[in-house]
């Protein structure tokens, strides 16, 4: 198994325990509302995807507000929990590279999911997002933050996972000239820095 498969395997094996852990952190309601607002669209008509929807913790909040929602995740076990939690939601098994991105998307949320994707693959994800989002559409993502790009293997009670650390200039350079940064926030949890970033698709 490569690191991608091992990471997905950890989410599959520990889906229930991780869902409990995510619940403890809480839904990103403020971010969801901010993302929809930044897209400047009436939420009722908004088309929203979620990259790495996990157990559907945020799907619930997004689906309540947006006209159309689809979440995807490579972990089948987490998707089972999401389908149970949000029966009205649409969920697809895929990773950020294999997902068939729909057209005319208003907002793509990615909460603590693309931190499992390396910089090379993240660049490919942004290319797909560039084609999928409408002009003015928003990519709203949160990542682990460090001054320098780094990868780290982490092992805990849930299993083994690989994480990548990003920073604002790096994400901006990966996103390229068709995205413009419209919101950024930095938080510290323990010794881990967390970066939240909203990027708007523009005419480049």
């Amino acid at each position: 198994m490569d690191w991608h498969e091992r990471t997905v395997d950890t989410y599959d094996r520990s889906a229930q325990q991780l869902a409990e852990y995510f619940k403890g952190i809480g839904s990103r309601t403020d971010d969801i509302e901010r993302g929809l607002e930044l897209a400047g669209v009436d939420p009722i008509t908004a088309r929203v995807i979620e990259i790495g929807c996990g157990d559907g913790r945020d799907a619930q909040e997004i689906a309540q507000r947006a006209g159309w929602y689809e979440g995807f995740d490579p972990s089948e076990k987490l998707l089972d929990l999401a389908r149970e939690k949000v029966p009205e939601g649409s969920f697809v098994k895929a990773d950020a590279l294999s997902y068939e991105y729909p057209q005319n998307i208003d907002v793509a949320f990615a909460f603590a999911s693309l931190l499992h994707v390396n910089e090379h693959d993240l660049s490919a994800v942004f290319q797909r997002l560039g084609q999928s989002l409408r002009f003015g559409g928003i990519v709203y993502l949160s990542l682990k933050e460090r001054e320098a790009y780094e990868e780290e293997v982490q092992k805990d009670q849930y299993g083994e996972r690989k994480f990548y650390y990003y920073n604002v200039p790096l994400v901006q350079s990966i996103a390229g000239t068709s995205f413009e940064s419209v919101f950024e926030d930095h938080q510290q949890r323990g010794a881990t820095g967390w970066l939240t970033l909203a990027l708007k698709k523009i005419n480049s």
């Binding site: 092992k155 009670q157 881990t192």
Partner: protein, 222 residues
């Protein structure tokens, strides 16, 4: 130092991180404090020593002082570091991180939290309680026990390492007041090695045993 004496068990060499800047400042230590200059030398010294130790895997707390110590060890031994949040230092209320001991409000919060880490009721902000930290010690011991590796070097922190020590020696008899005695009476130097083996003995079930305590012989090299 030689490998496992019995040849049948598993051995874990815990290493406390090198001296941090906050270790020698009159402040409540922050998770983000890096190694001091002396700490970097200690990290080099343990890294040189561990070059001569046969071990299979290297793990570390992701907090900078432990991460830097592990990076020094990775450099001399060629091992990849696997990080775990289960290895961090005790979690104090974040609101006092880096604050002066003379800040009376911070001191008040610290003292309230200290009661809870030693078994008192309640929780202070995001601070760990006695039950939290004992549960975390059990979780890392289980993870190490179930690891496919037979010998590991694990870089962690002083208070947490003394908690593991107390848990291994006292088991279910460990209480908040006894944890306090361990914290006050068991010294563990920066970068010292404290090793535990997991094995069967005298027809008993396999369990963790203390094998080496606070070994800092590498200080003599400096």
């Amino acid at each position: 130092m030689q490998k496992v004496p019995t040849g049948s068990g598993k051995i874990v060499y815990f290493v406390r991180h090198g001296q941090s800047i906050d270790n020698v400042s009159p402040v409540f230590q922050s998770p983000n404090t890096p190694l001091s200059e002396a700490g970097e030398q200690q990290a080099q010294s343990i890294a040189t020593r561990l070059q001569h130790l046969q071990f299979d895997a290297l793990m570390a707390s992701p907090w900078p002082r432990a991460r830097q110590t592990a990076q020094a060890i990775a450099q001399t031994t060629g091992k990849e570091i696997v990080f775990s949040d289960l290895l961090t230092e005790r979690i104090k209320p974040s609101s006092i991180d880096g604050k002066s001991w003379e800040d009376s409000e911070a001191l008040h919060i610290y003292e309230a939290w200290e009661k809870t880490i030693y078994g008192g009721e309640g929780r202070v902000e995001n601070g760990e309680t006695f039950n939290d930290i004992v549960k975390r010690a059990d979780a890392i011991l289980d993870l190490l026990k179930d690891s496919e590796h037979q010998s590991l070097v694990v870089v962690t922190h002083g208070f947490f390492l003394r908690t593991i020590l107390a848990r291994v020696l006292l088991g279910e008899a460990l209480t908040g007041p006894l944890l306090k005695r361990f914290q006050e009476l068991a010294s563990i130097e920066n970068t010292a090695i404290t090793a535990f083996e997991y094995r069967e003995a005298y027809n008993e079930q396999a369990q963790w045993r203390l094998w080496t305590y606070n070994d800092h012989a590498h200080f003599a090299d400096n």
